[in-house]
């Protein structure tokens, strides 16, 4: 069952070098945009589910971004936990590249913390 997607440009391809992760804002949402060494882009929510650290300010190693606060890691493509102490995955967003722009599907609802 397809719900309509809504891809929104968030950055230019050149804004993020391979191996880097940055914080981006899109429609009031704070997201972490990472680019793996092989050039692919991944986008996840910026807030670590363990203790609220800022993932986009962490380091990207392989496919996982590391939260600077306690070292928890999340897969930049799926949002799954790669290393503790977080146990709850973060929301991941479909990403595509079009005309040199990185676009994120914001039709995905983030899993909100109360």
């Amino acid at each position: 069952m397809a719900t309509s997607t809504r891809f929104v440009p968030v950055a230019k391809v050149g804004d993020v070098a391979p191996g880097e992760v940055v914080v981006i804002e899109a429609e009031g949402r704070s997201l972490a945009l990472g680019r793996t060494e092989d050039g692919r882009f991944g986008v996840i929510d910026n807030v670590c589910t363990h203790d609220g650290g800022t993932l986009g300010e962490g380091e990207l190693e392989g496919d996982c971004v590391e939260c600077p606060r306690h070292g928890g890691r999340f897969d930049i493509f799926t949002g799954a936990v790669c290393a503790l102490p977080p146990v709850i995955p973060v929301t991941a967003y479909p990403v595509r590249v079009a005309d040199g722009r990185v676009e994120v599907d914001l039709s995905v609802e983030p899993v909100t913390e109360e």
Binding site: E66, C67, P68, R69, H70, G71, G72, R73, C82, A83, L84, P85, V87, I88
Partner: protein
């Protein structure tokens, strides 16, 4: 630094002594204190791959940024620059009993492990001044494909496996001491049990600090593939000497689907050691993880073995015993995180404080939203033997799911007059009667220990009761 006055131990007390020949026989060590250079040296001594060196350095930088916890015991007397972080006792690893240096063999004699018994045991990695000098793997274990080596060897011989799991349960940034350990770790055990394999004999290791101002930073990593089973016993001991010493280990355990792991520790460091340990396990679907934690020694212990229940029907159990006498503060407990529905946990803590000793139970039960039908029970009992002793209980519960059953109970008591009177009227001295009551108090946990350890624990408690130690 203060000198701790230690009375004469009875001859039959085998766990603590100073080996005169061993003293000063350390062959190589890093300069005193901690710096980026020391970290690089340690990595170079071990000829490690670059990714490990980089990780150590990153961890060291993080260590500098973090501060020590403000809760728990008083850690203000630790001087991180007054410690030797790496000492190598022998310059090669012995594969054969004959190759082991004489004084190391004497150590094993004193530990009560005659040669024949050594050969029989499943496999023993003996930590001696930070480096494993003797190691042996029993043949049928090797045939089953079980890997049981010291952590340094694991990094060399099983690098991909090691790298896959190292730091995924306790990352370097987790806390200041985990950062320290990740920077300077050396030795410890690495165990990998293949799918479906059950190891029937407990795997054991002994530790010993035999150098003044020696810090112990072993790193243990245990991986249990689905359906496997293993019991690891860690028993440490330390000789008596007069300046503070730091033991800051990290233990990471992964228990996959349907597997079982039990990790038993009897800690009896001499009373000037700071024992600050981070121990954590993840348990997946239908897995069982059990921590059995006995804390008798050290001046200060801060240790909270944890289980993260990540798959349905996982079960975590923590059994903890602490006995604090004069000058000791044992701050221990456990932490269980329910991150899957239908998970269960049990924490049982028994603490005893005597003289002006202090025990604190510190624990956390956390239930994430959506983890329905989870059940957790915590039971903490404390026995205070003297008016001057102290006991605290700090149980934290964070329950964010409705459909669960969470219970916690604690009691604090002294030795009952009637009980004492009854036993004494049967001919026991007050001390004997009290020791008997104390043994009864901790019995639910002692009965889970391997026989040797149970006997040793009871004997150590007898000695503590007589005031022979501390």
């Amino acid at each position: 630094m203060t000198t701790t006055v230690q009375p004469q131990l009875p001859d039959n007390y085998k766990w603590g002594w100073n080996d005169p020949e061993a003293e000063g026989k350390t062959f190589a060590r890093t300069p005193k204190g901690l710096s980026e250079d020391v970290v690089r040296q340690i990595s170079a001594f071990k000829s490690e791959p670059e990714w490990m060196t980089k990780l150590r350095l990153k961890a060291y930088r993080h260590f500098l940024q973090r501060s020590l916890p403000t809760w728990g015991a008083d850690l203000s007397r630790i001087d991180f620059q007054d410690i030797y972080y790496y000492v190598l006792a022998s310059d090669k690893k012995a594969q054969d009993w004959n190759d082991v240096p004489e004084y190391v063999k004497r150590t094993f004699d004193k530990l009560g492990i005659p040669e024949a018994e050594q050969k029989f045991l499943a496999g023993v990695g003996a930590q001696y001044d930070s480096e494993v000098v003797y190691h042996n793997i029993r043949e049928d274990l090797a045939k089953k494909g079980v890997i049981f080596v010291d952590t340094d060897t694991a990094l060399k011989e099983h690098e991909a496996l090691f790298r896959k799991y190292f730091g995924t349960v306790i990352p370097a940034n987790d806390n200041k001491l985990a950062a320290l350990n990740t920077a300077v770790w050396s030795g410890g055990s690495f165990i990998w049990v293949p799918e479906g394999v059950k190891v029937d004999i407990p795997l054991q290791a002994y530790f010993r600090i035999n150098s003044e101002k020696m810090g112990q930073f072993e790193r243990t990593l245990i991986i249990c593939e689905p359906g496997s089973q293993v019991h690891y016993v860690e028993g440490c001991t330390a000789p008596i000497y007069s300046t503070a010493s730091l033991h800051s280990a990290v233990v990471e355990i992964i228990v996959k689907k349907g597997a079982r792991c039990r990790y038993t520790t009897i800690q009896n460091w001499s009373h000037n050691v700071y024992n600050l340990v981070t121990k954590r396990a993840v348990a997946y679907e239908d897995a069982v993880m059990e921590w059995i934690d006995g804390n008798l020694g050290s001046e200060v212990t801060m240790k909270y073995p944890s289980v993260y229940l990540m798959g349905e029907r996982a079960h975590g159990e923590i059994l903890s015993v602490a006995f604090a006498s004069d000058g000791q503060h044992l701050d221990a407990g456990g932490k269980i995180v329910h991150a899957a529905p239908n998970t269960t946990s049990l924490i049982t803590s028994k603490s005893i404080s005597k003289g002006n000793g202090r025990t604190s139970y510190r624990g956390l039960v956390k239930i994430y939203p959506g983890m329905r039908k989870s059940k957790s029970t915590v039971r903490c009992d404390a026995l205070i033997l003297d008016k001057t002793a102290r006991s605290d209980t700090y149980p934290y519960m964070e329950i964010d799911e409705e459909d669960v059953t969470i219970g916690h109970e604690a009691t604090v008591s002294k030795v009952g007059e009637e009980q004492l009177f009854y036993l004494m009227s049967r001919g026991l001295t007050e001390q004997e009667a009290t020791a008997m009551i104390v043994n009864g108090f901790i019995e639910p946990i002692v009965k889970e220990l391997p026989m040797d350890y149970a006997i040793e624990l009871n004997r150590l408690i007898q000695l503590q009761m007589q005031g022979a130690i501390g």
